[in-house]
Symmetry: C2
Subunit: 198 residues, 2 copies
DNA sequence: CAGCGCATGTAAGATGTTACATGATTCA
DNA sequence: TGAATCATGTAACATCTTACATGCGCTG
């Protein structure tokens, strides 16, 4: 496994919060940082096995529970390895934004189609924004006094700022693209053309 | 090849701008949308061959030039396929932000290390911002009158807003994390503790 | 007893990067 | 002539998603 296996470190990091099963790891990620990081079961289960083989985590069958849960705990070596990785400067991400990619080549498309894409994009991010704001209040209450609170709030603050920025960008872009139609058809056919200032 | 092969459509889209070789495609992407989309040669060359085999592009050896360039042109079928894909609503991206991931688990790290990460992150985005702003002026001049200009400006505007947002977020987060140190050590040992308002 | 949520896992294939190999041309 | 840039490509590996298979326990 290469040095840059971020799934590996993500899973290790989850276990630094509390011991978890593979299922728990997925639930935890989906419930906290799903908007900018996710892992599939296809990654999680094999990775947990590999981490156990490397001595970085320890798995125990949870026998208090009839459902065959296997709960993993960070070992001291695992915690050290996690901290080593966290201390390395984060590498710049090159994310892929499909909305921007399509927009970049949208001279190949009717203006109205592009506008629909942008409206959908705006709606999705506006909805996310609502969710983030609700979570902020909930986090402050649930994690009051925890050393993790300031970090979780900072990350959530990034999500909020990002969604706000996207909504604002969509509005500006929609307005500018609508302007293109107005330029192409200065006056609608149903309205008589009258004097217009140049 | 699955329906969601975005590299495939990205390359097709590049050829809608003008005929290009594999090398050109890479240069073009790196010179325009590298901040949110990139492709490696390992993807580009095989994909071009596959597109040619599918009849979506046509490759010709550039013989005016001694350097064995192979230039690809979009076929009518290729253009139709590109437009079909562009018209589909863009799928929501789930990017991976390593900075945010590390920050989320940074209670495992000395505060000073986290601050260094954030300062580096800020510097990178501030530098990008300068680059984007320079490119904006250049774009307006070079693409004046082109139907592509509004789209390219909109995409660049997204990059600018994103970088501004990150810089602002870094400043806010750095301030809040520095506050943690101040809380932990209300007064430095070398300075005598005096009255402080609660 | 049906369906949902809990829970674990594998196999196949899609996707993507990196390192390497090769050779021409251009410019200092 | 040596280095940088132009130019193409492959092989190996790493990564990741999707679909599938399986079965328990709880609730209505």
């Amino acid at each position: 496994m290469g040095r840059h296996n971020r799934s590996r470190y993500t899973i290790l990091a989850c276990l630094s919060v509390r011991p978890m099963s593979g299922y728990d790891v997925k639930q935890f990620l989906d419930g906290t940082i799903a908007h900018f990081w996710n892992e599939s079961y296809g990654q999680i289960y094999p990775t947990l096995k590999a981490l156990a083989a490397a001595g970085l985590v320890e798995g125990r069958d949870d026998e208090g529970d009839g459902r065959g849960r296997r709960v993993y705990t960070l070992t001291p070596a695992g915690l050290a390895e996690l901290r080593r990785w966290l201390a390395e400067p984060p590498e710049p991400d090159v994310p892929r934004y499909e909305m921007s990619l399509k927009l970049f080549f949208s001279d190949q498309l009717p203006v109205e189609t592009t506008l629909e894409h942008l409206r959908g994009h705006r709606a999705r991010h506006a909805a996310m924004l609502d969710g983030y704001r609700a979570r902020e209040a909930e986090l402050r209450a649930r994690l009051a006094g925890s050393p993790r609170l300031p970090y979780w709030l900072a990350v959530l603050g990034g999500g909020i700022r990002y969604a706000e920025m996207v909504v604002e960008w969509c509005d500006a872009t929609i307005a500018s693209i609508e302007g293109l139609v107005a330029d192409a058809y200065p006056a609608p056919p149903s309205a008589p053309v009258t004097d217009r200032p140049a």
